[in-house]
Subunit: 159 residues, 2 copies
DNA sequence: TGTGAAATTTCAAGTCT
DNA sequence: AGACTTGAAATTTCACA
């Protein structure tokens, strides 16, 4: 159920064009997409179905402006730990998954063990999050990097 | 055109519920959403329109599985620079925005000046990206953190 | 504002070239 | 395989409470 699941999934040029169009705007009609990729409704629709089933694309979502809902602060958190037992890791991952302010979490290769992207209302709210986290699980060293400006954001992949 | 645009946008409980539903799955029908938030089609539709216009939510997109399109490597790149002139920054930002492998870029407070999230096919492709970047713009120090496992990903905000 | 129903589009399948 | 056709369901509009 985790990590490193191989997804072969051969995609041709038409598939990639469809993905590009959908990433730009998933709310478009089939006709528009078909026109953009230079094909017709039926084949486009069949390919979308196939890619959905293959897990190439997940459900569609809307991107919400964080500031509009009062989430003005974004931190990247670098975490070093001394513990590497399975049990510790299990608790840690569960804690991360349970906290909605953690937008992203990766286990890393090298000196730094984990990196998190955390979105909160302000610095005060980050401290609350931080205190809660270190009380739940033992970590060796934590560095928080505060974002001053989002230069680029987006989930769009170069397909 | 950049940074720190204030978006007051008063949202009530119904708005927030609608956002939650749309973040979970933007492909749902109006009827389903209305049922979930305990309202009816037209008011829900009006609020969605209003929030779209206000920029609270952007266009809907699909999340594409990176592995399915051969993007198996994910790096977080920490960048220190000695230059802080406006002209240098302009060039640097333009370079980041132009490169599709850069999924995210933030200007930071503190010792580290920038953090990037970069998605590429493999370590070799990362090196190509890295060489291209440092040939375009002078940077003092670059640290690349390789992700071994994506514990949590997603754009869903806790609205 | 929210409600209910009408008209226009769009989806999703089946069939045929 | 891709193009036409069709029934069902969705979106968007409009008049009313």
């Amino acid at each position: 159920m985790t990590a490193q699941t191989r997804k072969p999934a051969r995609l041709d040029e038409l598939d990639r064009n469809i993905l590009r169009a959908l990433q730009a705007d998933a709310g478009q009609s089939l006709d528009e997409i078909a026109r953009q990729v230079g094909s017709s409704k039926t084949p486009v629709w069949n390919r979308i179905r196939k890619m959905r089933e293959a897990g190439v694309m997940g459900p569609s979502t809307v991107v919400v402006d964080p500031q509009a809902i009062g989430l003005d602060a974004c931190f990247f958190v670098l975490i070093r730990t001394s513990e590497h037992e399975a049990e510790w890791q299990r608790t840690f991952l569960a804690a991360l998954r349970a906290r909605p302010e953690v937008q992203e979490a990766h286990r890393l290769a090298g000196e730094i063990d984990y990196i998190l992207k955390v979105r909160v209302a302000d610095a005060r709210a980050y401290d609350v999050f931080y205190q809660a986290l270190i009380s739940e699980v033992r970590v060796f060293n934590v560095t928080a990097l505060l974002s001053m400006e989002e230069i680029k954001t987006g989930t769009a992949l170069p397909v």
